[in-house]
């Protein structure tokens, strides 16, 4: 995971140097005077040697978490990204909660009534939704729920926690629906496996209430699903970047795409690094959540024990 951060940092440093032509020229346009370009070179530190540029880039990044002044906004890139972060975090958070809220009952019902209508539905729906671009689903939601039924706002954010939840409903549903098929599928398979385990037979034989048995089954099936979810975090973040654009949310995603059109590279560097950092942090949170569900991970047994059959230890 740390490796990702290192690779991304080196990558984004090199990217700017890989751009064909002169970054300063690119920013200022073709009509720029030579002294303007020299000035920009100096401002961006491009008049120094590559080695020196790299050490100063890493130095500032580690010391202040910044990648330099944004060219378009003329303020620190870090400050810009941080100012846009809350909206994106809200969106990711709401989406993650929705994914769980949709997937758990669906997978549980599908597994408990194998071959039933919910099970069929869970198998067929992904075939259709797989080819649906997230942004298009978002637009269709706007058309249905905001324009026609007028239940939710067309876009933007509203003040207050309730206003925020209200404005996040459609965008987070859009992102969540793209994620659920994978989660439901793997969770269903996992629940079926656990249902066949010895301990469930024992619990059944002991005439425990079905409700209690379900809780034990779910607990055992949840961990692998959570690990899979952890692997899909980058998709969640990627989806957020795009869906923000559909709903006119002023988050990191809309900042990114506007930074590209104006070729604001310190800002792009900052966004890339902070997104990678976000993915790493969320993965760590997922790992910790996994530990709370499964005491074998918490107890430091981890590794080998985690891969063994989950039967009988809940």
């Amino acid at each position: 995971m740390l490796l990702v951060l290192v690779l991304v940092t080196i990558g984004v440093f090199l990217i700017v140097r890989l751009v064909p032509g002169d970054p300063a020229q690119m920013v200022l346009g073709l009509k720029a005077r030579p002294e303007q370009i020299a000035d920009m070179h100096h401002r961006l530190g491009l008049d120094q040697s590559i080695g020196k540029q790299f050490t100063s880039f890493i130095g500032t990044l580690l010391a202040t978490g910044d990648t330099g002044q944004s060219i378009a906004y003329n303020v620190s890139s870090r400050a810009l990204v941080l100012s846009r972060l809350p909206v994106s975090l809200w969106l990711i958070g709401c989406s993650a909660v929705l994914v769980v809220a949709i997937s758990l009952p669906l997978a549980m019902t599908a597994a408990l009534h194998k071959g039933g209508w919910v099970d069929q539905l869970v198998r067929i729906v992904p075939t259709i939704t797989l080819g649906m671009p997230e942004f298009w689903v978002g637009l269709v939601f706007v058309l249905l729920f905001a324009v026609t039924l007028k239940i939710f706002p067309v876009g933007g954010t509203q003040p207050g926690i309730d206003g925020m939840l209200y404005s996040m409903a459609l965008p987070s549903l859009t992102i969540a629906l793209a994620q659920t098929p994978f989660i439901v599928r793997s969770l269903r398979t996992r629940i079926l496996e656990v249902l066949g385990a010895d301990f469930v037979v024992t619990l059944r034989a002991a005439h425990l209430p079905e409700r209690v048995i379900r809780r034990h089954v779910l607990r055992n099936a949840l961990l692998p699903a959570l690990q899979l979810y952890g692997m899909k975090i980058s998709f969640l973040v990627g989806g957020t970047l795009v869906v923000e654009q559909v709903f006119g949310l002023k988050g990191v995603g809309s900042l990114l795409f506007s930074a590209i059109t104006v070729r604001d590279f310190p800002l792009i560097q900052a966004i890339a690094i902070y997104c990678a950092l976000g993915v790493v942090l969320i993965s760590i949170i997922v790992e910790i959540a996994g530990g709370l569900i499964d005491y074998r991970v918490r107890g430091g047994l981890g590794g080998e024990a985690r891969h063994q059959e989950a039967g009988g230890v809940a």
Partner: protein, 269 residues
């Protein structure tokens, strides 16, 4: 020998895809309209007999535009996927067969790349190459091979442990010949199944890039830019955005059905 019956999903998928490809090829030939010809006098008209899909904000016929965009996007989908497919399969064969450091490098690279949000990479690549087809090619060259390498690696590794591979080696077959003549045919079907489902993801990505203004550049018609065009009139002119999107969804369904069908067919054998 028992006659293999074609899974119904496969038949349905192939039929749907064939219908789409045929429509995309024929409609521009038969239509009286040019996909890029603007006609301000017939702007944003709803679907009718004259314009079955309506017209867009520049008065262009949407039916012929959806078809023309289909030509562009479908060709791009197949063209872009080819190289990652070959590279990924080759890398997977090598890593699965030899293990050791080729295996470690591939695992490391794929772990690192998978943790990086795809659309962020796209944005960064688009920054370097400028918008357009080059960026799409490059991004998929970087990202696309991983899924094939992973699948093929797993399949090859499990084959490599089998006795017939060992005996082939003892009989003096070279590694290259074992890899190409024995391993490849065995793992190829799995790679193709992954290819089909990955193409759906690729098409979605191409269209999304178009929507974000980072993909196919106008005036070349593309489903993504068409959907973006319609976004500002979504409330009153629903057809401009929804119809090109439906085309994407239909291709997705066709490919998903083919993928499911191939999977079933493989299990039958």
């Amino acid at each position: 020998m028992k006659r293999l019956h074609l899974p119904r999903t496969l038949a349905a998928g192939v039929a749907l895809l064939a219908a789409i490809v045929l429509a995309v090829l024929i409609i521009p030939l038969l239509s009286p309209y040019d996909p890029t010809a603007e006609d301000i006098s017939s702007m944003l008209q709803p679907p009718s007999f004259v314009h079955p899909f309506g017209t867009d904000q520049l008065g262009r016929d949407l039916l012929v535009r959806v078809a023309a965009a289909g030509r562009v996007d479908l060709a791009l989908m197949v063209g872009v996927e080819l190289l990652p497919f070959i590279i990924g399969t080759a890398a997977g064969l090598i890593a699965g067969y030899y293990g050791g450091w080729p295996n470690r490098i591939i695992t490391l690279l794929s772990d690192a790349l998978i943790a990086f949000p795809f659309y962020l990479l796209v944005a960064v690549v688009a920054f370097v190459t400028g918008t357009g087809v080059t960026g799409i090619f490059l991004t998929f060259l970087i990202m696309g091979w991983i899924i094939f390498a992973r699948t093929v690696k797993g399949a090859t590794a499990s084959l490599a442990g089998e006795e017939w591979v060992e005996s082939a080696r003892v009989m003096g077959f070279s590694d290259t010949s074992i890899l190409l003549r024995q391993m490849l045919p065995n793992v190829f079907s799995q790679a193709v199944i992954v290819l089909v489902s990955d193409m759906v993801a690729l098409l979605v990505a191409i269209v999304t890039l178009g929507y974000l203004g980072l993909g196919v550049t106008p005036p070349t018609p593309d489903w993504g830019t068409m959907i973006a065009d319609g976004q500002s009139f979504l409330a009153t002119r629903w057809w401009v955005s929804t119809l090109p999107g439906t085309a994407v969804v239909l291709v997705g369904i066709a490919l998903a059905l083919i993928g499911d069908g191939l999977n079933d067919a493989r299990r039958q054998v």
